[in-house]
Symmetry: C2
Subunit: 494 residues, 2 copies
Amino acid sequence: MRHPAFFVTIKFVAKLSREELLREFEPIFYPKSIAVVGISQNVFKVGSVWLKALVNAGFQGAIYPIHPRGGEFSGLKVYTSIRDVPGIVDYVIVCIPREAVPQLMDDCARKVRAIHFFTAGFSEAGDKTGRLLEEELVGKAKQGGFRIIGPNCLGVYSPEVRVPYGPAGRIGEIGSVGFISQSGGIGEKLFELGVARNIKYNKGISFGNGIDLDSPDYMEYMGADPRISVIGTYLEGTRNGQRLFSTMKSVANLKPLIVWKAGRTKVGAAAAASHTGSLASSAAVWSAAMGQSGVIEVQDVEELTDTMLIFQQLGQLEVRGNGIAIVGGLADGGGGISVSASDSCAELGLNIPELFLTTRRKLTNVLGSVGSILRNPVDLSQSGSNHLKIKEATGYVLQDSSVDLVIVQIDAGILLKYLPWELVQSIFNVFIELVTEQGKPIVIVSPPGAFETQRLEMEQRLSKASIPIFPTMRRAAKAIVNLNRYSRFRRGDA
Amino acid sequence: MRHPAFFVTIKFVAKLSREELLREFEPIFYPKSIAVVGISQNVFKVGSVWLKALVNAGFQGAIYPIHPRGGEFSGLKVYTSIRDVPGIVDYVIVCIPREAVPQLMDDCARKVRAIHFFTAGFSEAGDKTGRLLEEELVGKAKQGGFRIIGPNCLGVYSPEVRVPYGPAGRIGEIGSVGFISQSGGIGEKLFELGVARNIKYNKGISFGNGIDLDSPDYMEYMGADPRISVIGTYLEGTRNGQRLFSTMKSVANLKPLIVWKAGRTKVGAAAAASHTGSLASSAAVWSAAMGQSGVIEVQDVEELTDTMLIFQQLGQLEVRGNGIAIVGGLADGGGGISVSASDSCAELGLNIPELFLTTRRKLTNVLGSVGSILRNPVDLSQSGSNHLKIKEATGYVLQDSSVDLVIVQIDAGILLKYLPWELVQSIFNVFIELVTEQGKPIVIVSPPGAFETQRLEMEQRLSKASIPIFPTMRRAAKAIVNLNRYSRFRRGDA
């Protein structure tokens, strides 16, 4: 597919330099102007809502509402056609019925750089009209010299230029994570979970049917983008498996590429066909190809966000090995938690080495031997919830040379049954101090329960100190396994 | 082991009738008097805290604080020795150092019915003193005619007579779930998660080292107790594997017995030995024995509570088969969720049947075909979040004869981005109405996110309408698998 005007083809990545790739996608992720087609005075219509979201988010470029009747909307001049807008429009958001789309495509020729279709009803609808329309769109885009995002998707999220994600979108904190989601709804979940869990996105995209720009295109771009350090992806299928696999391989060599491939089962694949018109191939083929390429394969939205989070928080640290220490019992009664935590970690293949005798002696001095479990897991119940003892003991565990990473279980709901909030805060602070002082990674397991307000407040503070937090031991362990596997892949011993 | 006085032995269950078993445990779970040994004027000492918790919870029987110096505590007369207390004491809570325990045991002879040791430092400490003390305790209990709970545990939770669980315990809502936990800390988590998720316990116990009364004893009792409809258990090991396995088998034939066996891995088993002095055997042996006996084996605290919850909420309904329908997309964009939900369910062995053509026709009439996924999973995005359409469509899905249970995904955080709270409430209410009107079970998946206050409020309401709620699709699917497996076992086709 050759594009005569603004875009050179990006199908053959080898031919494009990193700079060319970045320039190609500039109008999509850093648009200077956005038109919204399909606004109306009915403020509940999606186009109107979307336009307001752009205004409210403080989008930094020009905004052009388009409607055949013209007039004014939200203080902005409404253009009756995209052709009347002065100059070139970088990005068009389309919220009109599928029947009106071909005429719009003609109007956009040589006028716009990229069109994003929220509009659905194409190949995923399963009717002939939808399929033919899709072919027509591709042809018109080629002739008109612009690229298509979608159809049937929520398009771009780009907080640096204040483009919110979707019609009810907001702007989150800016960081270095990128997401690519075939589904708009999953993209929305990723955004929301990001806000809740302190995952900071640099940009994101949902691309729906992907009839022109497809998952490999976005992967290549985010692979080339120096502002992005880790990519999380939700895929249902692809139109060009060979290209996708070779792209995943080259991108995974540059930075962590996490892929959740849905439609793995027969019934999931059937649903994917009705959702984004995707033809899903066998799960085994996908898994094998991803595993060989260094792609981090995950199984659900929880594992995807958990894994993005651990790479964001610990990706810069050198996690040298697989040796995990488990610390629990910050309030009385950490024994059972220690036993079951060991199971979860060991079953997923993590190594829980017995601490060196010198470490255990130091721990005995702090905690005493009666009622303590000190080999690893380490049960701090005998610290009497004294934050100085907790710090000293955890410090010894971190210093043990067989330990590469420490998992600490903190149950705020149970701590706050026994201790005043000030004391519990001092305990949480211990781990922030230890990470700063010792530089070895700490991962926190903090289950929901009673005292949710206090728990969330402490999680925010821990999170800002580069500590990743997970709601269950199993999820923490799985994220660590994914982190370690990629480290081994990059070192060449996977 | 024969007990001369209040207890006849319950080692040979076949010889005890249900009534005898219930009478045996009456002083433990329905005590008329409780003594707390180890209170002091230092209000931070655990004995003092525990005594106050008993008073605050409104325990209905007599409370006797014991301390060598006598005096008064919390408005109660302090006895200098348990021997001075008038009459028989049903239940003694012991919070004194291990060295003082043998003398106390002598004082308790013929005076008390059951002693619960919070005190730790016995076989789990790994020293000779601890082991010898434990043997001494067993001998003295036999001679003295009382039973031992523990040592090294939190003992009884019995909300009907207002005995809180542990020194910081409260009283939760009373229902029909029983818990048995070797670990006091895990018991506390089960209690707290119960409060958070509307699991209503009838009673619970943590039994630590279990040197006299052990897990099979508590299982037999709860098996016999007509107030209990489902039993959730956390085990680290046992002193008599043969007896435990035969007990589990007979109890699982009476009611659902859910068992989380920790210490499955080598490192977990080592931690269990330091925690409750348990010798864990091979995971495979345990799993095989449990599977054959109809015991529902679970892997972590989340699956244990999820499974107790689904039995509490749906155990009375006749879930006839394995046919699951998945409904999503209550706000825009349920497609990706539908695809991935199908994967999670199908991978765990649930059947997602294609809906009958008649059902799909009815759905098309309500939702239209463009943009809809209607075979199962069913994506309701085209309902425009209209609660009447959502009710009509979900009603048709429930009526489909291939469907035994419907899973509905509701993301309150995303719904509330688009809709006012009143509208979201009407949508939630649809499912309460449908369960009442149609009698087929609905399970809700409701992930945490933004708008936590509103989410928790709606979850409480759904929960009171016998709808079980899970935070992720995978956890819901796993709980349903456990429920179905037990139904098949009871029908004899497992």
